[in-house]
């Protein structure tokens, strides 16, 4: 009894701290940056984190550390509880190592990253080179491209790439490991030379069709009602496809800044968008043929659209639009989330086989996405996966290697610090406690953990801090988290295998986002949840 009392006391201390950290203490619904706070946290030697090692040593130690922390706080020795780092960095579960840089004057600013069947990693760069990583060495495969933002090796000696104004086949005809033929696959799309007219790519489906995406231009004259982005020429803001015989056509419309496509093992297409006009925050899109994804600029050249994109109302646009399947709350995970990649390692990378990982153009974070299908539509949850300040900023591309490791290539020149290089992230084999799945139920949510959890804590509804909010679809840049309010968890029912918890809620609201912060739930070895916060995008209720 006395123990329970103490636990409660501690909760009442820690919860507001974590709320403050996430900006929630500063007024609901405001989009408070947590970046500076986390920057501070990374440099602060004294953390209040109840790290798993210490937690394992019993309540006395925990209480003591909290008391010490409180004293320090009171004494003003450290500022605020910012040091409660929320997301995991490299640790005993995942390692992070930088590959040596190749010998190039141009820096490995990675725009495209993919493994060939033979295990060679091809990295395309923004300054137009393609480097091949094999047997611990880099070799320059191609150069002189106009910005390579996609590399797709399709067979030995053949790599398909996107350039600003062309999709190109690079062929090493003589087998010396250096491309000597640069063949056009298509250039049937418009390009005005605007700096923001990126050509992102490149994925291929089983039938051999290629897919890429074309960024809108950055225009200053507000052409389509957007603040910054618009289409001065046609084809911008679309996803295109190229048939095996080289025919170019538009696949999907209404995109804004779709940096990086992914195709699922089942052949479905996905991309991430970053916050902007008509885009409340970063999000994951499930791309389907001829659909419209929200930014009206490309409507001006969409066959069959007869209206004026500038004057079409939001209500009309909303009717046409296919909404994102997962929202990434701004700066809670990334700030400019990019290319989704499916974990195809079948468990070699840990307990997330089949799930999605994304990098970020600005922040030092990798994000994980759990998807489920409700009816015909995907929706799901996102979680921080790995954060490393001053290292991982601008993780622009992700590729899973035959060794089961994740490789990520960096660049954020022009938007942030100008990072570059490739990092390898490998699972150590030790099972982290994570929220593996977050599924919707007719009356609440079902959480599945990677390990059995401490039943006592897991069955306490107070340990599940749930909030919900929503976004508005509008033309101005970004959107605050609107009408944010706590959601009471009625009950938390732990499954027999102690890996799942069913949360019952008074009601579920569709087209809302749920934010969950799980407290005090530990694995049998005493380890806490490695990333205990997540966001579920509830587009459809489950009947």
């Amino acid at each position: 009894m006395s123990m329970a009392m103490k636990e409660n006391t501690m909760n009442s201390v820690t919860f507001p701290l974590s709320r403050v950290l996430r900006g929630e203490g500063r007024g609901e619904g405001t989009n408070v940056s947590t970046c500076e706070e986390r920057h501070f946290a990374a440099r602060c030697p004294l953390t209040l984190t109840l790290s798993p090692e210490y937690r394992g040593e019993g309540t006395r130690w925990r209480r003591a550390s909290v008391i010490v922390a409180m004293l320090l706080l009171l004494s003003g020795f450290i500022a605020a509880p910012k040091a409660v780092a929320a997301d995991a960095g490299p640790d005993q579960y995942y390692t992070l190592d930088r590959l040596p840089d190749p010998d190039t004057n141009l820096k490995l600013e990675v725009g495209g990253l993919n493994f060939a069947a033979d295990g060679t990693l091809y990295a395309g760069t923004r300054r137009g080179e393609v480097w091949a990583w094999k047997d611990g060495k880099w070799k320059r495969f191609a150069s002189g491209l106009a910005e390579c933002l996609g590399t797709l090796p399709i067979k030995p000696g053949v790599v398909l790439v996107t350039q600003r104004a062309e999709v190109t086949r690079l062929i090493d005809t003589d087998g010396d490991g250096i491309a000597d033929r640069y063949e056009k696959i298509t250039n049937d799309f418009a390009y005005s030379g605007n700096y923001h007219e990126f050509n992102f790519g490149l994925v291929m489906d089983k039938a051999g069709n290629l897919y890429g995406s074309l960024n809108l231009g950055h225009t200053n004259h507000d052409p389509w009602g957007g603040q910054y982005m618009g289409a001065d020429v046609k084809d911008r803001g679309t996803v295109y496809t190229i048939s095996p015989d080289g025919k170019y056509s538009t696949f999907a419309w209404g995109l804004r800044s779709p940096n990086g496509l992914e195709i699922s093992p089942d052949g479905e297409l996905f991309c991430a968008e970053s916050q902007g006009e008509f885009t409340a925050t970063d999000c994951l899109q499930h791309l389907q043929k001829d659909r419209f994804y929200g930014h009206p600029a490309s409507l001006s050249f969409k066959p069959g659209f007869t209206g004026n994109p500038r004057t079409t109302t939001i209500a009309e646009l909303a009717k046409m639009r296919t909404p994102p399947i997962v929202w990434f709350p701004y700066k809670r995970v990334g700030q400019s989330v990019n290319q989704p990649r499916f974990d195809i390692t079948a468990g070699k990378f840990g307990p997330f086989a089949g799930q999605i990982f994304c990098g970020d153009d600005i922040g030092p974070i990798l994000t994980r996405v759990f998807l489920e299908k409700v009816g015909d539509d995907y929706q799901g949850a996102c979680f921080p996966f790995l954060r490393k300040q001053n290292v991982l900023e601008g993780a622009n591309r992700i590729a899973f290697g035959p060794d089961g490791a994740m490789y990520t290539g960096l660049t954020n020149r022009g938007w942030a610090t100008g990072t570059h290089g490739v990092y390898k992230i490998a699972w150590t084999g030790k099972m982290p406690l994570e929220i593996q799945k977050w599924e919707i139920q007719s009356d609440g949510f079902l959480l599945t953990f990677t390990e059995p959890v401490n039943e006592q804590a897991a069955s306490n509804p107070d340990n599940y801090h749930l909030l919900n909010f929503h976004y508005e679809y509008h033309k101005t840049y970004g959107c605050d988290e609107l009408d944010k309010a706590p959601v009471k968890v009625l009950s938390a029912k732990v499954s027999a295998d102690r890996k799942s918890v069913h949360l019952a809620l008074p009601e579920l609201r569709s087209v809302w986002i749920y934010q969950l912060d799980v407290q005090n739930v530990t694995a049998d070895d005493g380890a806490g949840i490695r990333n205990s916060t997540g966001w579920y995008t509830l587009n459809r209720l489950k009947q």
Binding site: L106, A146, A165, D180, R181, N187, G193, R413
Partner: protein, 854 residues
Amino acid sequence: MSRVFSRCLCAIVVFATTSAAFAADPPARPKSLDPGLIATYSSGQRKIVRLALSSNFVLQAGESIHPQIGPDFTLDYDGVIRVLQAGDYAFSAADGAAITIDSAPAAKIHLAAGDHALHVHYRRKPGPARLQLTWSSDAFPAEPIPPAVLGHSAVPPEVGASATIERGRLLAEELNCIACHKSESPAMVGRGAPDLSTIGSRVNPQWVVKWLEDPRHFRAHATMPALLASEQDRRDVATYLASLKDTTTTRQVSTNDDAAVSGRDIFENVGCANCHGKDGVELNGQASKWKSPDALSRFLLDPTAVDPSCRMPSMMLTRQQTDSLAAFLFNPPKPDDKSTANWSIASHLADFEQASVDADAARGKTLVQSSGCLKCHAISGASSTATEAVALSRVKPAAGCLASQPPAGAAQYHLTNDERAALTAYVRSASEQPEVAAAPTFSYQENIQRFNCVACHTAEGFVPKQALDGVPPLAIAGQKLRPEWIHAVLEDKQRVRPWLRLRMPHFGPAVKPVADELIAVSGAGPVEEAAAPAPTAIRDGRKMVSNGMGNFGCITCHSFNGAAVAAPEQSRGPELTLMVSRVRPDWFARWMREPARIVPTTLMPAFFSEKPASESMPVINAMWGYLSMGKSMPLPDGVTPSRQQEFALTPIDVPLVQRCYLDGGGVDGKYRAIPRAVAVGLPGLTCYVFDPDLCQICYAWSGGFVNMTAGWNGRGDTHGKRLGTPFYNAPPGSPIYFDSLEKKPQMDYIGYSTAHDQVEMVYSVDGVEIHERDSASPRGVGLVRTFEFDPAGKQVYFVTQIDPTIKFSSSNGSFEPVPTPNGWETPERTQAVKISGSSKVNFSITVTPTQDGK
């Protein structure tokens, strides 16, 4: 401290070199020479004797030395040459002119110090022609004879008459007599007047009424005549003109004292006062004239947009600066105590503010159309209904506009007696010897007065009132600068010292001919390029340019890629990375050896005084080799790299291909932007660009490849900038046709190969896969385009433009003129070669630039 020191050092060196160059001066300098040679031009029965202030020329076929003299002329110069230092001299001139000194042939001659009689006899042969008087002696290497040592003593009576006729001619052009009195001369140029389509937004109608009565009452130099006799007519016209407005709303432009003082600073320093100072073009009454300070400010932003005559140039000011200038003109303070500019301005003129205006606009419009206003002015939607006047050759002296009291209906110019006499003399002369040829050196002499170049520049026979630091003399511009650079300065706003406050204005399209005239008057031959720099030359040259012991430390005074230098702005040298694209190699060598010989007041030190060529030339050549890399030059020691990373790409031993958005450039955007460019740079810096959209090579250049600095920094837009100098520009259109030129070929870009360190472009024309390899011409600048393909039995044509600046030759067959093929986007004159062979053809087309078609 070091700044002061370096300045002193420069001054000492200059002093030393100046005295070295003229060491043998007699103690008492004789009085200075009267500039110019007495020229006698004759052609058939025609003869003209005049003072030629410049003796050299470059003429194209059909051009002449004087508009009234045919292209097949004989020329004799008489005058004196001043020798400062006795010695063995050698004289020469291009194109076989005969030079005699003291009546002896002057190919090789010993001359004592002093003045000697000079005679030059020259007979023009048909076709392009060139004359450049050159001398050398045992004390200095060959150089064009400096105009300062040429002069004349005796003046024949015809010279004065010629001067009057020439003055009359310039007046006839400036008063735009030829707008009404048509001239058949191929060489006369009229003067356009401001476009009046939106004059109602610019000027006050009260001012217009008074101005129409007598423009010379407002401004003594006005060239517009009074055409409307009655006050009612003038009020009606002013009412009509007041209705011609644009839709711009008027901004509030402050004219307070602070703004006026900033305006004064601009007026006195950027160059306004050089034309508008004492005895210049008056600026009284601007506040009476302009509708608002905003209207004046808008005009000043680009006066040439309103006034195509371009007499008032754009000073390339910002809107803020033109606002200040407007404030200054509306509210002029006293001249600055420290200023040397001499001006006085009254902002208001009371009698220009009194007219009542509200009159009959419709009648005003009819008057504007019928009175001849639209012979000079344009108004959109209105055209002239005025009757034609007699041709210029039939104009009677002392009648019509030329009468001392012009009759009613004639234009009233309020001419002075001198002006009337000069105009009459010209009209008479031109009817006796009508003008028959374009004469660029003659036009040059008119143009430097017309555009008032001589307000700032010294030129043949002209010295500006005020000595201005850093303004180059015009007489040597064509000997010093490459033709492309002269064009770029006059037409493309290129400036080599953008930091100077006194600025070279932008004159707009009317000044275009002056670029070619500067070259014509220089007598300079084609630019002979040095061979591509050897790696050792680049290394040695870099060392000399660097700071450090034993080096020249050029970067102490010259800017390098915009990097800050220690020298104060007034004495800062021109940008080093532009040096080679700007100056001629022969001039560079002369300049380096003895700068003060060319510009006695220069701050450029002489590093090779009295050194023999065998010692100086290897160093000068090494520096030139290094400078030849332009923006690709490795940084010299002493220059800190800019924070922005530089990416000037340079092919060293293998070709480089760079896909980029290749920015357009050149005069009038001649070299178009290519969004999907495949730019190829070959070792030795012969480069070309292939456009996948047009499926052809668009242009080729040499001396530098591509700079990706803009495209690869910051957010990056993959834009590349061409370095070096273009020598070939292909109009849009397929070079390859099959069977007939009448069917537009279907072209498709396939790609390129880089195998074996050779770039091969692959594309298809009507289904035939073309392989094109391009290489540098083995002899100097040029491109060899080698094609290989199988036409499958079809007749192959290779088509190209006919262009006097480019020579095309084929390894297979020869070029014949053909009608422009179907599919060429511009109306070019074209030529084609029929390639023999119907399977597996392999042929080369060599593209070589020529100097003006020679």
